[in-house]
């Protein structure tokens, strides 16, 4: 099968999705279920985190099992900054991205010397190290996590304490950053990255600095995950070690694979399906995890390319 290096994002899909997302608060207000708006914010910020992980897994061929480390680091930066009195989102959120990027640079520089399974394990090892560091930092809440004294302040007359405002801010941030990632994937850099995924040795022989490209991708993905973490800290009103736990890394990876690696919007779809499924199944049965496992298993066996192929296949048939 020919591999399309250019990632097309169809306006026929994106425009209606954005329209529905923009109108969602009106709908939840109308049916008087504000909870759904909170859930939607959660879905969006996980879609952002999963999309950033896909930059590594889908486009760079780097299966990182430690992505939650950067997500959690971003959350902690916002919480710690707020504790120290820095609540401005314009300072705290870029700071979260910066710290996560720095962590990704250090971890990536070492991890990228290994390949394949060993890369999976070494990223996991670093994420676990960060997890234990935060668990033991008693000054920052230790195992219980650190609660946010107040949500970040944006100014411009926006108050993040309102669920609707928070939702729109998350929607804007996610839409803009995902659009930027899309540009990145389709840039010269993105092409080189996909070339490395297909054949690293050949790219090296052609003269591309393979290691540097992979490291930059790792840092960018880490920074975006940090931003998603900063949003998550605001939503949960806290940062906790469980955000860095390997379970969380596994969940992000599952979202990416479920949606479809290497398709640009697949992971966002995967995050949406995963979180909505979790909510819906939990309403029906206490044992929702069993059903969820069964569904994931069915997807692996029946749809090897992920959920995104479902849309593509239908399009090809039609």
């Amino acid at each position: 099968m020919a591999i399309a290096l250019h990632q097309r994002v169809r306006p026929a899909i994106v425009v209606p999705v954005l329209a529905v997302l923009s109108a969602l608060p009106l709908f939840t207000q109308w049916i008087d279920e504000p909870f759904y708006l909170v859930l939607a914010s959660r879905v969006l910020l996980f879609a952002l985190a999963a999309t950033s992980l896909n930059l590594l897994v889908g486009f760079g061929g780097m299966v990182s099992f430690g992505h939650a480390a950067f997500f959690g680091a971003g959350a902690y930066v916002v919480a710690i900054a707020a504790m120290e009195g820095v609540t401005s989102a314009w300072i705290a959120w870029p700071l979260a991205m910066g710290v996560s990027a720095l962590a990704a640079a250090v971890i990536g520089a070492i991890s990228l010397r290994t390949r394949g399974v060993y890369f999976i394990m070494i990223t996991l090892a670093f994420a676990q190290m960060m997890f234990y560091v935060f668990v033991s930092l008693k000054a920052y809440g230790g195992e219980d996590g650190l609660s946010l004294p107040r949500r970040s302040v944006i100014g411009l007359g926006l108050d993040l304490k309102s669920d609707t405002t928070f939702y729109y801010v998350v929607l804007t941030v996610c839409a803009v950053v995902i659009a930027l990632l899309w540009r990145l994937v389709n840039s010269r850099f993105g092409r080189v990255l996909q070339g490395i995924r297909e054949n690293e040795t050949r790219m090296e022989a052609v003269g591309f600095p393979v290691y540097r490209h992979k490291l930059v991708a790792f840092v960018v993905a880490g920074a975006v995950a940090g931003l998603a973490g900063a949003l998550a800290a605001n939503q949960n009103d806290m940062a906790s070690p469980s955000m860095l736990h390997w379970n969380q890394s596994g969940m992000l990876l599952v979202m990416v694979i479920l949606g479809g690696t290497g398709t640009f919007l697949g992971p966002a779809l995967g995050a949406t399906v995963m979180l909505l499924l979790e909510e819906t199944l939990a309403e029906f049965t206490l044992h929702w995890q069993f059903v969820m496992g069964g569904i994931l298993l069915a997807v692996v066996l029946l749809l090897p390319g992920g959920l995104a192929t479902l849309l593509q296949r239908r399009r090809n048939d039609g």
Binding site: V133, S136, Q289
Partner: protein, 306 residues
């Protein structure tokens, strides 16, 4: 430093390392021969511990419980392998991760449905409940000594099985070059089913033996699974010898680090800093060990593939 304490902690490290070896042995072979990432390996450990606890509760016999757990888990392992995992061998690692992650969710929930959410108690046999005086002043729990004995016995048996039997030869051939082994007429799929059954039985053995020390509860498989992966990555994937060395290293470093690192830190640092830093550094130690090994020996200490 107190020599009794050093000795006691070394024995603890040895005991934990040997139990890790039971898990890592199966995992490394599955990984090495079929190139399959099986995250659900920890679930077999959990299932083994639950079976053991259930049988022990019903019959009162610990050793019968261990035997039933090993047999039952081996059967479950074979059923899983034949019906499901076999379809995944040719797939991408990512698909294997997703599928076996799904299996973790399902087995955790299945265990919760059958035995409920609260942890089960599994008591060691009463004759082994007390301590034994190993040296003057060194009392050590008899049950932990038995664990060490069982672990050593299994290690010797596995060594014999892998390096002195026909099955072992096929296993080694499969681990070092799967295609070549297949071309020479080895029925790799049958070898693999057998290996998987043995791996599952060893998981159950580890679960049953560690059950009295840790709680038998849902989720017990995941934390130890990570350690088992650390072990096989340190040892080199596909190598039993690597698994043994890696398991002992991890067991020792983890146990000894948890006891002595805070003490050493207290000697050189102010107490408040030391009490914060100690536990963190101790938990991080094995991951530092793994990162270090991968940095200098990216294929692990004993790579199976030449």
């Amino acid at each position: 430093m107190d020599p009794i304490l050093v000795l006691e902690q070394s024995l603890n490290g040895l005991q934990f390392g040997l139990m890790l070896f039971l898990l890592a042995a199966g995992l490394t072979l599955v990984f090495g021969i079929m190139d399959m990432i099986n995250l659900a390996h920890g679930s077999l450990y959990m299932i083994g511990a639950y079976l053991a606890a259930a049988v022990a509760m019903a019959t009162g016999s610990f050793w019968l419980a261990v035997a039933v757990a090993m047999g039952g888990t081996a059967v479950i392992g074979v059923v899983l392998e034949v019906t499901l995992l076999r379809r995944l061998y040719q797939r991408d690692h990512l698909h294997q991760v997703l599928a076996t992650f799904a299996l973790i969710l399902m087995s955790n929930e299945a265990v919760r449905m059958i035995w409920g959410p609260t942890a089960l108690a599994l008591d060691p046999p009463p004759s082994l409940a007390g301590p034994v005086e190993l040296l003057p002043g060194l009392y050590y729990p008899a049950f932990r000594l038995v664990i060490i004995g069982v672990g050593l016995l299994v290690a010797v048996l596995l060594y014999f099985l892998v390096s002195h039997t026909r099955l072992g030869m096929l296993v080694r051939a499969g681990a070092s070059n799967r295609e070549m082994a297949r071309a020479m007429g080895v029925r790799v799929s049958l070898v693999f089913t057998i290996v998987f059954a043995i791996g599952a039985a060893l998981c159950a053995l580890a679960g049953a033996m560690l059950g009295p020390l840790f709680a038998v509860q849902v989720g017990m498989g995941e934390s130890i699974l990570i350690l088992a992966f650390v072990v096989i990555v340190i040892g080199g994937i596909g190598s039993i010898r690597g698994a043994l060395v890696g398991a002992l290293l991890v067991g020792m470093v983890d146990t000894v680090g948890r006891t002595f690192l805070p003490m050493w830190l207290r000697a050189v640092l102010p107490p408040t800093v030391a009490s914060n830093l100690g536990p963190a550094l101790a938990s991080v130690l094995i991951y530092v060990l793994m990162a270090g090994v991968l940095f200098w020996r990216p294929q692990g200490l004993f790579p199976a593939r030449g």
